[in-house]
Amino acid sequence: MLTPRQRARRRAARRYRTVLLFLSPWLIGFSVFIAYPMLASLYYSFTNYDLLSNPKFVGLENYRFMFTKDPRYWQAMRNTLWIIAVGVPLQALVALGTAVLLTRPRRGSRVYRTILFLPKMAPAVAAALAFVFVFNPVTGPVNQLLDTAGVDKPPLWFFSPVWSKWGLVFLGVWGMGQTMIIYLAGLLDVPRHLYEAADVEGASPRQKFRFITLPLISPAIFFSVVTGVIYGFQYFTEAYVASFAIAGQPTGSAAGEVGSPQGSLLFYSLYLYVKGFTDFRMGYASAMAWVLFLITMACTLLLIRTSRRWVHYGTGGFR
């Protein structure tokens, strides 16, 4: 006979076996595809490694070269910070504006919602190619429109190092559907009685937006800004496709053309890709990857920290 305590212990052991069994796909996946590669890339970041010969330990040399001697690294960093600083707020603004518009009609807003979400569905490669064409300075409809509107010397967009990033910013704004849906859900969750109470108090629409709507959807805005910054550092496909389309070369042919025109579309992840997989400098690419990881962590922590000051959560904390 088993004592009650033994029986309880057996049951607990069985329970943990079940849990482990259910978790096993993730446990294996986490160790093999996340934990090991992270540690390995940390090690590689202190080596020179070209895949053919063994990794050679060089200490902090990769990091030193990156920060002090590699102008292309800083160019990529500047471009990335630029597109985050311009693209993320602009996308959030447009998404918020359209989401507010969508809450206003009494009927028929579903159709608009579908249309405004649709660009998000366009595959990134197709969307990037389409925008290179739409913003073509000579044949594209955008500059024709600017021409008829009487704009003198409209921008060359993707063909000018000054304007090329704007083409990608507009591409991002066009694909703001997901952000808009998240904002819309937040807006529809604002309790009606708050607005009614404000009406009784004689609040203006602007005051209602500023003091009721905005505080209550700030978690949604916070969420989209955090993810926007983090994904900004991983920005790859659109820039890669656009720069190759301008250079007019087959995929993966000439590494020198990545980020054209004149390196204005050379973003962090693009440069990492070039270093790792066309130059096969695995050590350097790993060092870049770890800096990227630390930046991502820092951004997330910073935003979570500061959010306490301006994000309103209704009940409970973050998640």
Binding site: V19, W26, P37, I182
Partner: protein, 302 residues
């Protein structure tokens, strides 16, 4: 789970009509119609701007290659033959099949592996559950670039570069985002339902497949849809692992190469883009509900 239809309680016309028997004054009515018209006018204008790029793509795909290089907007004459031409000039069918195989298999992998993990993280009680869940959450934000170099090295040792395996196999070992989304949904399932099945002698695997999975169909549909579309549209991983093996190229790779190969043939490039977008957009229309609910679920709810 937030559904984007809580408009019922706020403006249910039937309820309002029953209470407000008194007809509204003509001035109020006129004002209401005016505001409503204004809202629709604004939304029509914004929607038109968002649709225009699609219109340009379709129109250009129907032009001759010469005309696509002129500022003309309207195809004259219509070259429907462009759509046949792209199949002659590139192995589009093979690209489509490759893309489909990768997307379908990786979707199966995500569903099969993430359901039990999410189940353990939401409906089983054990110490360390919260900490494990936080670890899963933390990996959602992990940039692929951080792990890609060692993974590439491992895959190249296994001789997997130039095969579909690196794009499929890892998905059979859980995907943090899908686990998160499923867990959020599982938490809304009442424990009583599970306990009833347990009292009847069902083990956890049976509870999961017989009770939870049928109830969680919308959430499972959402993660399957997300993964399928992600794999369908993905460019970075196919470029990395399939770049050298043209035989296994996906549509993303094929299309990005199109422009390089057919330098000035924007009409064909746009026709191929249309064919690439079309299935995605059709799937979106067919499954819009699951989709929007899924996106909402990933937001700040929960």
């Amino acid at each position: 789970m937030t559904v984007l239809a809580p408009r019922v309680d706020r403006e249910s016309p039937a309820a309002v009509a029953r209470i407000q028997r008194r007809p509204e004054p003509a001035s109020v009515r006129r004002r209401r119609i005016l505001i409503e018209t204004g809202n629709h006018a604004l939304l029509v204008a914004v929607s038109a701007i968002f649709l225009l790029p699609f219109v340009f793509i379709v129109l250009t795909s129907l032009m001759s290659d010469q005309q696509a290089l002129t500022p003309a907007l309207w195809p004259r004459p219509f070259h429907f033959s462009n759509y046949a031409e792209i199949f002659r000039q590139s192995p589009l069918l093979r690209y489509t099949w490759n893309t489909f195989v990768i997307a379908a298999l990786s979707t199966v992998g995500v569903v099969v592996s993430c359901v039990p993990v999410a189940y353990a993280l939401s409906l089983l009680e054990w110490r360390g559950r919260q900490a494990t869940f936080l670890l899963v959450l933390a990996t959602i934000m992990l940039p692929v670039q951080v792990t890609v170099v060692p993974l590439y090295i491992v895959f190249s040792r296994l001789d997997w570069i130039g095969t579909m395996k690196p794009l499929i196999v890892p998905l059979f070992f859980g995907d943090a985002f899908s686990i998160f989304l499923l867990r959020q949904f599982f938490l809304t399932i009442p424990q009583e339902l599970l306990d009833a099945a347990r009292v009847d002698g069902a083990n956890e695997a049976r509870v999961m497949t017989r009770v939870v999975v049928p109830l969680a169909k919308p959430a499972i549909a959402a993660i399957a849809l997300f993964q399928f579309l992600y794999a369908w549209n993905d460019f970075f991983s196919p470029l990395l692992y399939l770049g050298e093996n043209k035989h296994l190229w996906t549509l993303s790779l094929g299309l990005s190469d199109f422009r390089g190969h057919f330098h000035t043939q924007w009409n064909l490039t746009m026709a191929a883009s249309v064919l690439f977008m079309l299935p995605v957009i059709l799937v979106f229309f067919a499954a819009q509900r699951a989709f929007v609910e899924g996106v909402t679920l990933t937001g700040v709810k929960g």
